[in-house]
């Protein structure tokens, strides 16, 4: 039972974890640090804040702002609608087989993003899409004449919801499952109304999970580009499209500015996560 059998003891632990660490350094840490470094370097290689100041132009600020609005709206409505559907299925006593079918579908829909999703919405709500045509011929409502455009803020938000809602459903379902039936019964016996149960028991328990998923959904939409690109080409001025054009052909005429643009994206998605961590820590304090 000693190590004499193997003269040189193989350091399995280090060997097994090493590929993971090397991989993380090569494909996560170094590229990210490289971007951060480049954001503070001028063409001659000196330290500078000019690239960061360079972000404060109308075009770039507008790109950030519309990206934040689309991500915020699709995260907010995705979380709201996703939570409503999960509550309906788990708490609304719908038939049990329905639940597994819905959850399987959510797994598919949350991964049905990118280019094919854009194609699907063009075929649905584009100018020649089925729903557009049915609304016009059957209901006499021309959505394009009344101001709707798939290639706009609401069009893109509506499209993003197709993967945001299922993602919310998949992440929040375990938390909703954790709400025990006994708590509702106990609340009712103490004379609480349904509204009071949700206000004082149900929602405070779900709140940290909802918030966590919200920041996940926000980052998910904020970094998305394939759907927007396939829908609109390079026309839509969102920050990912701007950065994509910059990587392709130096659209900003300054590589340092491109790095600053990328750094801005990291800062915004990190902020979303930090806000979540702070609020979750506060929300969970009383649960211990």
């Amino acid at each position: 039972m000693t190590d004499t059998a193997s003269p040189r003891r193989i350091p399995w632990d280090a060997l097994a974890v090493a590929p993971f660490i090397i991989f993380a350094v090569m494909f996560l840490f170094l590229p990210t640090l490289g971007i951060i470094g480049a954001a503070f370097t001028d063409r001659a290689g000196n330290f500078t804040f000019d690239n960061i100041f360079g972000l404060f132009t109308d075009q770039i600020l507008a790109a950030y702002w519309i990206s934040i609005r689309i991500s915020g709206a699709s995260a907010f409505f995705g979380a709201l609608i996703g939570l409503a559907i999960v509550l309906a299925i788990i708490r609304g006593r719908l038939p049990a087989p329905l639940r597994s079918a819905v959850m399987t579908f959510s797994g598919v829909a949350s991964n049905f993003a990118g280019v094919p999703l854009a194609f699907a919405f063009i075929a649905t709500l584009g100018r020649l899409g089925l729903v557009t045509i049915i609304l016009r011929t059957v209901f006499g409502l021309d959505i394009y004449r009344s101001g709707f455009n798939l290639l706009s803020f609401w069009g893109l938000t509506l499209t993003y919801l197709y993967f945001q809602i299922p993602l919310m459903m998949l992440t929040i379902a375990p938390a909703v499952d954790g709400l025990k039936k006994e708590w509702n019964e106990a609340a009712q016996m103490l004379g609480a109304s349904q509204w009071q149960f949700w206000r004082y028991v149900g929602f405070p328990i779900l709140w940290p999970s909802v918030l966590g998923t919200l920041s996940l959904l926000f980052a998910n939409a904020f970094g998305a580009i394939a759907t927007a690109w396939a829908l609109t080409g390079s026309n839509l001025n969102i920050v990912t499209v701007l950065l994509y054009n910059q990587i392709r052909g130096d659209a900003l005429q300054n590589p340092g500015l491109g790095a600053a643009l990328a750094l801005g994206m990291i800062v915004i998605t990190s902020l979303a996560n930090v806000i979540y961590l702070v609020v979750a820590a506060r929300a969970e304090r009383w649960m211990k």
Binding site: T32, G34, F112, G114, A118, F119, A120, A259
Partner: protein
């Protein structure tokens, strides 16, 4: 509680409509290629296109390599961290969450800057090198999902007890991993693999910025040049995604479970 059920059904039906109508509309659109009647011409046109086969084949191969590399990177690390180095766990969790926080577009920008043809590791200098870089990028994209799948698999089997039992019976470390741990978490690994495949197969951003002939850039090209083929391709992609997710569901029924220790 009657009203409760009514609202539940209403929510469900509205939600279902939002998800099913685009699929029906896309399918209907994909059949409209021949004037005046429904036909599968758009599908025939897609399958007759040699670029469809070549780009799809390329993405499948990159996807398979991504799965193999992902498993080799994640499984040993999760096993030893769970068994011997629990203090590393928070660090691992942090790393595996990073790809969800840092947008893929930013990461690929970092790769292009870092691994260009004049750098120490010139991945982008050759086609093979770029394929390796693309595989690495996809492993990174799939890392959060692969890690979670494997970690869940190891939680449901009690790896500490299994390892001790195997050691008492005289098994060495390689035997323990290959003959005891791997078969027990095979279902979890396969779940992670199918999820990885679903993520990788139609990926556009990284493949197009690295200029590789993958399925995602092919899709975008078709989208800008054709009318009905994109709808057909959307339906085909949906079926592929459905297949990958369906496999995960089927597999999860075969997952082994030993009751974990409560320590």
């Amino acid at each position: 509680m009657k009203t409760n059920r009514f609202w539940a059904w209403l929510t469900f039906i509205l939600g279902a409509a939002y998800f099913i109508v685009p699929l029906l509309a896309t399918f209907e659109f994909s059949l409209r290629m021949r004037r005046g009647e429904y036909s599968f011409d758009a599908y025939a046109s897609v399958f007759a296109d040699p670029y469809f086969a070549s780009s799809f084949g390329y993405s499948v191969i990159i996807g398979l390599f991504t799965i193999v590399v992902g498993v080799l990177v994640v499984v040993p690390a999760v096993y030893f961290v769970r068994l011997r180095m629990p203090w590393l766990r928070p660090f691992m969790e942090f790393i595996t969450l990073l790809p969800l926080v840092i947008p893929a577009l930013v990461l690929v920008y970092g790769y292009i800057r870092l691994y260009n043809s004049s750098s120490i590791i010139p991945f982008t200098g050759s086609a093979l090198g770029t394929d390796i870089l693309l595989t690495g990028a996809y492993v990174t994209l799939a890392l959060p999902y692969m890690y979670r799948a494997v970690d869940n698999g190891m939680r449901t089997i009690d790896i500490a007890t299994l390892t001790e039992a195997a050691q008492i019976m005289g098994a060495n470390q390689a035997q323990i991993i290959s003959r005891i741990i791997l078969p027990n978490i095979l279902v979890a690994i396969l779940s992670g693999a199918f999820l990885t495949f679903a993520i990788v197969i139609g990926e556009f951003t990284i493949a197009s910025l690295l200029n590789r002939p993958a399925f995602g850039p092919y899709l975008v090209g078709i989208g800008t040049n054709r009318a009905y083929e994109p709808a057909a391709l959307a339906i085909i992609s949906f079926i592929i995604t459905w297949g990958a997710m369906g496999m995960i569901n089927v597999l999860s029924r075969f997952a082994p479970r030993t009751s974990a220790r409560t320590d």
